[in-house]
């Protein structure tokens, strides 16, 4: 492929670029002296904008981090300073959105020393400082935690996700009853402040009971969440009268949970409600309705059983791609139940079932360690009947809509953030390779792990090599 400067660029400019390119050829991102390029054009490529019909051959122009134009190559206005990628044989897609993972989230260090409880009698879990004796102790509750506040931009997985075509991720705080707020970030290799698309993107709640102290059962967790919801409503009602006339009214206590939850509920931040099975999904919808939450079902792997109900109640789903699986080396004596076997077999059919009844859904990779597994598991969904188009929509525009950012992400349209993935074929096909990724208009080349040269073959001759070897200024 050729990457060349358009127009009559002076030789000196080209030379500088050449030097810069060779100096920085190890780095995945292309930089030029005097700052990295801000203008790009991908010409003669197949373009899948998602929001509209596919262009069999067209040009996308990127300017200053945004998509400037999409259309026929002949009518495209390519800025003189734009770097041009010849897109012949390539397909341009909107960048993929992973609607739920833990990229850049560092788990808090467990306190060292004896408190860890190892070797103690019963091998118990570490003893927490406070044992909750009721809802007022706010067990496992931290709605004020915002994932992007402690984001580790150096997490190596960010690059591997981007190399697989992901440009945006909803990163979530570690599971807890009220875990905190997930942040929507662009995987652009910059400072955290430049990565954030929306820091308060979604509230994560969980239903796992405490090991000791209240609540130690599922019904306890639900009753606790109900109490927090009531307390928040109370705060919402009680705060204004006191603020208006503090004189003569007993001062209400100040509770951080109520304060933050009020804000979250007022701005209709999506609440990720864990709901994976045909029992959990209707339960989650019932509770979300009772508590008047703007809930998104998180998990959704047994949606194939209750897709009609989800459609009737107009909920959206974030489907977890870590499909249920049996052990790699199962005990032949330990035969799973038919119900379990059916679930393992049919779970990848959930996206297709949701698509069929018109439920909007996105995908999350939560629990998968490697983007290769994401691709593999999406293929299981497409094998089970999900069309490539629907899969793409779930990863792009529908994810953006569910997360409330479809005005800036999710499709190839002028004015949207220039998050693009460019591949040499259908994005979800097994042999397809991602060639370029743009995040916020910044260009990333995708480097395959270098294959050894065959004896006698010169470097630069192998097909992979030519992609990594841009000829500049021709």
């Amino acid at each position: 492929m050729k990457l060349k400067s358009a127009g009559n660029a002076p030789w000196i400019f080209a030379a500088i670029i050449l030097i810069a390119a060779s100096l920085l050829s190890q780095a995945s991102r292309l930089r030029a002296e005097g700052g990295e390029p801000r203008y790009f054009a991908i010409t003669n490529a197949r373009i899948v904008p998602v929001s509209g019909p596919v262009l069999e051959s067209g040009t996308v122009v990127i300017a200053n981090g945004l998509i400037q134009s999409v259309g026929a190559t002949a009518s495209a206005k390519i800025p003189a300073e734009a770097w041009v990628i010849d897109g012949k044989g390539l397909t341009v897609y909107p960048g993929l959105i992973d609607a739920g993972n833990d990229l850049g989230i560092t788990k808090p260090e467990a306190p060292a020393g004896e408190a860890r409880g190892r070797g103690r009698r019963r091998g118990a879990a570490p003893i927490p400082e406070h044992i909750s004796t009721g809802p007022e102790d706010r067990p496992s509750t931290s709605p004020w935690i915002v994932a992007s506040d402690d984001l580790n931009a150096a997490d190596k997985r960010i690059e591997s996700w981007r190399d697989a075509g992901f440009t945006t991720a909803l990163v979530l705080p570690e599971e807890a009853i009220i875990a905190g707020q997930g942040s929507l970030i662009d995987l652009n290799d910059e400072r955290v402040s430049q990565m954030i698309v929306r820091s308060h993107a979604a509230l994560r709640i969980g239903l796992r009971p405490e090991t000791f102290g209240f609540p130690d059962s599922l019904m306890g967790v639900i009753s606790y969440l109900r109490q927090v919801n009531d307390d928040t409503a109370w705060y919402d009602e009680a705060a204004p009268p006191y603020a208006a006339h503090p004189n003569g009214i007993e001062r209400p206590n100040v509770d951080r949970t109520e304060e933050i939850m009020t804000l979250i509920l007022h701005r209709k931040e999506p609440v990720l409600f864990p709901a994976n099975t045909l029992v959990e999904i209707p339960r989650a919808m019932r509770l979300a309705q009772e508590w008047n939450l703007h809930a998104v079902l998180y998990g959704g792997q047994q949606s194939y059983e209750v897709a009609d109900l989800i459609a009737a109640k107009k909920y959206q789903v974030i489907v977890n791609l870590k499909w249920p699986e049996g052990p790699k080396d199962p005990d032949p004596e330990d035969i799973p139940s038919l119900r379990e076997l059916r679930f393992r077999d049919r779970a990848p059919g959930s996206p297709a079932a949701l698509a069929k009844v018109g439920v909007k859904f996105a995908f999350s990779s939560g629990g998968l360690a490697d983007p290769k597994e994401i691709q593999k598991n999406v293929r299981r969904a497409t094998t089970a009947g999900l069309s490539s188009d629907a899969a793409l929509r779930a990863f792009t525009l529908d994810a953006a809509e569910i997360l409330g950012v479809s005005d800036r992400l999710g499709s190839i349209e002028p004015g949207k953030i220039a998050n693009l993935v460019i591949a040499d074929g259908d994005l979800f096909a097994e042999k397809t390779k991602v060639k370029h990724v743009f995040v916020d208009g910044r260009h990333f080349e995708i480097h395959e792990v270098e294959m050894p040269h065959k004896p006698g073959e010169k470097p630069g001759e192998s097909p992979q090599e030519s992609n990594d070897d841009p000829e500049v200024g021709r």
Binding site: S217, V279, N292, A312, P452
Partner: protein, 490 residues
Amino acid sequence: MNRKSIAIGIAAVATLLIAAGTSSIARANAADAKPNVTLIKNATILTITHGNIEHGSILIRDGKIAEVGADIKAPEGATVIDASGEYILPGIIDCHSHIAVSGDVNEGSLAVTSMVNIGDVLNSEDPSIYYDLAGGVTVANVLHGSANPIGGQTIVIKLRWGKPSSELPFEGALPGIKFALGENPKWSNYRPPPGYPQRYPNTRMGVEETIRQAFTEAKEYKKQWDEYDRRKAAGEANLIPPRRNLKLEPLVEVLEGKRYIHCHSYRADEILMLMRVSKEFGFKVRTFQHVLEGYKIAEELAAYGVGASTFSDWWAYKMEAYDAIPYNSALMTERGVVVSVNSDDSEEARHLNQEAAKAIKYGGLSENEALKLVTLNPAIQLGIDNRVGSIDVGKDADLVIYNHNPLSVYAVAQKTLIDGTVYFDRDRDIAGRPALETEKKALLEKEKNAREEEKKKSEEKRKADEAKKKAEQDKATPPKNASEGTGGVR
């Protein structure tokens, strides 16, 4: 959320319950399209309320019993079930069950957990629902466990296997709350892991005090709301409402008679204690569960008007159960107590008919009195006897068809109907087993093949990687050349 929005919430939930009814019927194992009219004929009908009818028939219309008698002609289009030589009993009602619950049945962290609700965690997929149906059970009182003096809120369900959780609750049945006396609430967290605090109470005295304290708080809470409502009605501005307290609200409902107490208990002294406390605070206990020493205080129980739900012959599994005797049901019945026999266990629930029969051997109850222990009496205890518990015109068509008299050890349930729909059919179950076996084998085979495919792939990859590594090593031997690489090559 204020009280108004609670009402809206409840209305919304009700709408959801109705809306949910349209889905997942296809999945239902037994619940086929509901026949409007069914006639069961030629059976011995054990009506419970008005004797047995030989060669009798039951006509079911829209889920209700429309006619019961010796000579009923099948209307046109009716489904006819020929039950020649078989017996029909009203569906068995299990007054103490822990089936169909997701997660733990105990919120054991605190001594008072009235905020938790079994209704929130109903699990329509628990196979015990189906197993119990196969034992003739159609209604279960699903209770919180006995870890706390005041446990969680409870719910009565119909075993509509195949329907979603939202369709299990018995419509209109008053909700309950679990109380517990004696060793279980005393001993919960008696020996916590090292470093964790012990939970109060540790004595029977403490159990009583915990209950008194909770009701004192509940009364205070009600007063706060009454005061707020009064001032608000008087038009006072700038009022801050009291906080809703989900722990105390159910106890206020108990005080207002809107919620039944089902109290786990064994010893006579503790049962008398709770009756005294309830009179003092002005609430009523609906049933004593287990109530193994009930025979010692049968007259007091009858005078108080509380139901007794006991085991047939299960005892001595702990100190406080040493004085249990198998004559308990009969002795309490003779003194005028409404007695039921419960399971407390999904296996025991499958033969409650036999548990009832034991009261004939031990204590000499009549056959009909014995059958009442698992049908009409638990219905009365749960306040649903206007709907179920006997074979009477107008009641729900919740019926079990047995091949023998249900008091016989040879009796096996053949069909179980709820609201006129066959939810368990022994013949259909047996006929369906080979297909399920085949499906299971095929799925196991599919998984095995996928695993082998995966193994093959990873083995190929490993070999390729090894070859690559080797090639790299070969390439790396002339080290000087490596630094002379051409520009642009990584």
